[in-house]
Amino acid sequence: MKGGRRAMKPFRVLCPTGHLSFTPLEKGSFLLACGYGPDAIAADAGSCDMGPRPLGADEHVSLEAWQRHDLEVMLLQSRRLGIPMIVGSASDTGTDRGVDQFVALVRDIAKEHRLPPFRLAAIYSEVPVEELKRRLLRRERIEGLCGRPDAGLSILERTDRAVAVMDAEPMRQALAAGADVIIAGRSSDCAIFAAPLLHAGHDPANSYFLGKLMECASFCAEPYMAKESVMGWIDEGAVYVRAMHPDQRCTPLSVASHAMYERPNPYFEHVAGGCVDMTDCVYEQVDDKTTRVRGARFVTSPTYRMKIEGAGFVGHRRIAIVGIRDPDTIRLIDQAVAWARDKVAERFGPDGNSYRLHYHLYGRDGIMGPMEPRPVAAPQELCVVVESVSRDPQVAFEACALGSRNLFYARLPALKGTAGAAAMMSDEILIGEPGYEWTLNHVVMVSGPGDLVRTRHHRIADGAAWGIAR
């Protein structure tokens, strides 16, 4: 098979955007790239970057109008060219809601454009918290990542929603079953691109590695232009990545810089079935816009382990913004905050009982907190953002009001201004989005790629999705 392939054009994967619909995709370089004979169009649509709330509350942060735009642009080209379209981590978080929402959008777009019938695979990887509890009861480990302890019942009790992160295998199987369009739940970014490459017969090392390079579209190119289209392929044991925007190029430096982007270590990329080892990768320029990389290896894991992401509700949030100009108050700000905290504690007991109170001191160390090497002792102005959190919205409101207004009334020694020690930008308590936390960043052992993943095949025709009996 491999000998025959060399005579043929290599299988090309086109990536039009990274985190699909977070901002609308750039149509110009994508349509240009569609003229260069892609064999599959793939994009990642999710991220953990926005924090835990979208997963915990099961909401999307991308506007639906933008989601529809991006899916429409991709679907029309995919159907026109007769090549598969693969979208993973649907609707920002990759929950079942996200998959269903994207399937509905694809169906609507197909109807609107009267597209000829095609086959769609919806792949779900949300994991009910009850399922994780059952695993715990069976004494199966829910192993913590990044120094987290293993999850016990108390962490699961704090979890509202969880997703398992799939590798390429469920998507590859869907392609093998004839899917023209795949909408997948939470996926390793690189797996979304690896799936069609594996289906075309390529090895996991280069397939996953190329996926890693392409996942954020033209973040691997220079000069920086955010998310423009890139094309990738594998030929004679090396991966190639090419910038498709006329003003961008993929260089060894830009590609290597991206290989280490947003990851703890530039040499290893873990997926459910194993790990890509990039230690010996060699980067070379092959033409003005294309870089070739050789040397990726794939280490198959002896056990199949899936990462689990989980998030849970912490409390309602209220926010107040207070400014301080008096140099004496600024100098004594820790005392002023302590005073205000005491007033809240008088009403509701110590911080941590029914509420939490956070003071963000912008101008001193508001951004870095305890990691700030040089907190500014005496800025001219200080902005204090008071953030309260409580499961009881009324407590959250009162704690925030007391915690901010008492900066105004703080009794500090030798204060000259006795008509108020702080400036209220506005005497109002702002309603923040509910607070969530990442409860799970763990792995579980599974029997195989399909253990926590379910695939439904549909035939999309005349704007309807017909389930295909399996």
Partner: protein, 104 residues
């Protein structure tokens, strides 16, 4: 006196998952990269001290030749986006690196 800011083309920080912030220092040319690498001024102990974290919270430290870069990763005290947390994307933690002095 030369600082890291003079020799680097990119100094950035960003989430690497929900529990880690990773820092990339990419040098403007190979000479600058070799100079800083060989000066051994940037070490896990130095960055742990600078960011006031225990050395064990530096999870990775890599001199990455293909990108002319030095890269290290710090474990967050609180996962990204929790209430009270300060930098959801971890994208504004790098500026203290600017002032690191590099011997001639």
């Amino acid at each position: 006196m030369t600082t890291l800011k003079d020799l680097a083309s990119t100094i950035r920080s960003k989430n690497a998952g929900v529990d880690l912030i990773t820092f990339d220092i990419i040098f403007r040319d190979r000479d600058a990269f070799v100079r800083v690498r060989d000066s051994a001024v940037i070490t896990p102990a130095r960055v742990a001290d600078m960011f006031r974290v225990p050395p064990a919270d530096i999870t990775d430290f890599v001199v990455f030749e293909p990108a002319r870069a030095i890269k290290f990763t710090i474990r967050r005290k609180v996962p990204s986006g929790s209430p009270g947390e300060r930098d959801v994307f971890g994208s504004q933690q790098y500026p203290p690196l600017f002032e690191i002095r590099i011997p001639d």
